[in-house]
Amino acid sequence: MKFTIQRDPLIASIQDVAKAISPRTAIPILTGMKLDVRQHGVTLTGSDSDISIESFIPAEENGIVQVENIEEGSIVIQSKYFTEIVRKLPEQTVEIDVDDSLKVTIRSGKAVFNLNGQDASEYPQLPKVETDDSFSVDTTLLKHLIKQTVFAVSTMETRPILTGIKCQMANNVLNFTATDSYRLASREIPVDHTSLEFTCVVPGKSMNELHKILDDSEENVEISITKNQILFRTKHLSFLSRLLEGNYPETSRLIPDDSKTVIHAKTKQLIQTVDRASLLARTNDNSVVKLVADQDGFIEISGYSQDIGEVSEEVQVSGIDGESLNISFSSAYMLEALKAIDAEDIKIEFTGAMRPFIIRPENDQSVLQLIVPVRTF
């Protein structure tokens, strides 16, 4: 096996694929990266058996030759060393050569590395996603879906199903929902040209990695789902993740649908106010701040920390309707929700001090951030 490749596309591919490779794995060969060299291009594969990523570097793209002098073959190279070596090579061209005893030679300029490779036939077969039921989503939109929900997944293994994002397609609407049971984030988008209906739970970790490697310049992501795998595919990239088993708890009926107090505010101003109040609320784990709204429309956010001091600030709001209110919540959750909402103007709907409240962009029902308040005794 032998080929000569441009260093930049190789680095880009290696970086994507390496995201799936873990130094700690039950199957030793998975600490390696697999290279499959064919006349039409080179495919890199990495996997930790939960996530598998394949990146394809075409021999020629847009009239530019990226891979040449190709002799077909496959090899597995230790990912850690391969990644670092390629990153530090001196020249733009890299020559990779594998002999019959699986010795890998990497040459660039005057630098020569000799590495021991592993037999590619020992690399586990990745599950084939055999389905015609796929649909297509705009890449930028998908990244938004992920970013606006994934931060709310649970990091505790006590309820494993909550460590994932629930992805649901019904009536041509794709919905992502995540909750750690203290806050909930949800976003939906319309999807055309499909009759698919499904519900699955994708690990939050997979979604985070997918978000990192999806390139905004790609137009669309093709998504296919089987019983226990989900595959995201762009032109040169396949991202395969295992699904979480188990039933995701029903959350829709836990979201209050009436409201007693509604506050309209500028997102940026509110973020800054909550951030300031949280400065003096850090001693407790959740950095609890208090929001008080009286009947005259005066709203104040305050933070208090035993032995340190207290802060209070009147909130500049665009409007307030309904009853007076006195509610405490985690400023950390509030800030994450406000930052994820991605809208200039928001409205917050409260139904009482002990009930979850909902933040949405003004005039947009597709995004929902819910926060469960803190009870002060």
Binding site: S181, Y182, R183, N284, D285, V372, R375
Partner: protein, 414 residues
């Protein structure tokens, strides 16, 4: 001498009741006066150990923590009573009430001792102490010793010097004669372990501690080394804090088993009981805790403590037991166990705790809160006595030899 310091020299009393439990029993039953008397836990079991005894019994060699059978051998005429905590509590409350008549600056330390800052009381300290001692003896029928010093440490050391019914003054200038020749382990704050460590750097008397090198002390005892050296030199800046009794960071309960055991059922039964004790005391203080610590003492006296910090505050016996058992079985080496202790650490009053509600259970919590707000509203309307917190019965059905000072929380309000 620095007599002209900016702050006035303080006058601190340490009042220490003499053989408190035994004295209270005598006060209740004149017939016991002058007899060898001991208070002990359950006499049928091994934990039937002497909790305290009268001076008459002590004269015969009876000592605290001695097993009953041994005490009886030394003193066959010994009268043994089970502890009657209600009685002691009552007496203690009366005592502290009496003390607050002298000055509001009273800091209860335990059921039978406390500090008074009498700096601002315009009376000769010795005459004041004598009057106080007489008053306690006549109104409560209880003997006490009083130590007088310029700070807590010296007052405490002084009250220990003459018992019963002693009044002792300990000044800084007395130290070289009174305290310094004494072994370091009689010092308040120096236990067996600390004494051992001090010995390792050649410190055996209080005088040696007073002159010891701070660096060497810090090496073996950390910051506490410097503190102890200061004490040995008669320096102690702690104020008498009437609210100190409200400050609590941990609440625990421990018990010796009637026999060393490896029986898991027995262990779990004891853990259940201990968890209930801890939970009961948390409830009494309206508090909850976030770290559970378990202590295991093996039959060879080897003691291990292990703790776990939780995400949320807990207070119910079940929650405490659950974590404690988990910890216990994770760290137990299957050797016979003599004593188990459970302690809640990171304890805060509920008013200072924020409880993160859960999306899946908030409706249940809401019900609870509704009830609470009704109670609050009605209390506002009809006064604070509309509702009474149902307290656990005050009867001590199970004989416990340890004593909690929780009840001191509210001696002032009664």
């Amino acid at each position: 001498m620095t007599k002209h310091t900016t702050h006035k020299a303080r006058v601190i009393f340490h009042i220490d009741m003499n053989c408190f439990y035994a004295s209270v029993e005598v006060a209740h039953n004149e017939a016991l006066k002058g007899r060898a008397l001991a208070i002990a836990g359950n006499p049928e079991e091994r934990k039937g150990i002497i909790v305290t005894s009268s001076y008459e019994a002590r004269a015969k060699g009876v000592k605290t923590t001695m097993p009953l059978w041994e005490a009886r051998k030394l003193c066959p005429e010994l009268i043994v009573l089970r502890p009657n905590f209600d009685r002691y509590r009552q007496a203690s409350k009366q005592l502290f009430k009496l003390l607050t008549n002298v000055t509001p600056l009273v800091e209860p330390v335990s059921i039978d001792e406390g500090y008074l800052d009498v700096t601002d009381v315009t009376a000769d300290p010795v005459a004041l102490a004598e009057a106080l001692q007489k008053k306690v003896l006549h109104t409560l029928n209880l003997p006490c010793s009083i130590g007088i010093g310029p700070n807590k440490f010296l007052a405490k050391m002084a009250s220990d010097m003459k018992k019963p019914l002693g009044i002792t003054i300990l000044r800084k200038r007395d130290l070289p004669v009174t305290l310094w020749p004494q072994p370091v382990n009689i010092m308040y704050g120096v236990g067996d372990k600390t004494a051992e460590k001090l010995q390792s750097i050649g410190v055996t008397t209080i005088g040696e501690l007073a002159k010891a090198d701070v660096y060497a002390l810090k090496q073996v005892l950390g910051i506490n080394g410097e503190r102890l050296k200061n004490r040995a030199n008669g320096i102690d800046s702690r104020m008498v804090d009437p609210d100190a009794v409200h400050d609590f960071k941990s609440i625990g309960s421990s018990q010796t088993l009637s026999h060393d055991t490896t029986d898991e059922k027995e262990i779990i039964a004891l853990m259940t009981q201990l968890s209930e004790n801890v939970s009961r005391r948390l409830k009494r203080k309206q508090a909850a805790g976030r770290t559970v610590q378990v202590m295991i003492r093996y039959s060879d006296r080897q003691t291990v403590t292990r703790s776990r910090k939780l995400q949320a505050y807990i207070e119910s016996p079940n929650d405490i037991k659950h974590i404690a058992c988990d910890l216990f079985f994770q760290h137990w080496n299957s050797e016979p166990v003599r004593l188990i202790g459970i302690t809640m650490q990171d304890v805060s009053e509920k008013t200072a705790i924020a409880y993160q509600l859960d999306l899946f259970t908030y409706k249940k919590e809401e019900q609870k809160a509704k009830l609470q707000s009704v109670v609050t509203d009605l209390s506002k309307k009809f006064g604070p006595d509309t509702f009474k917190q149902v307290k656990e019965s005050n009867q001590d059905n199970d004989i416990r030899t340890s004593f909690q000072k929780d009840f001191l929380d509210d001696f002032k309000h009664e």
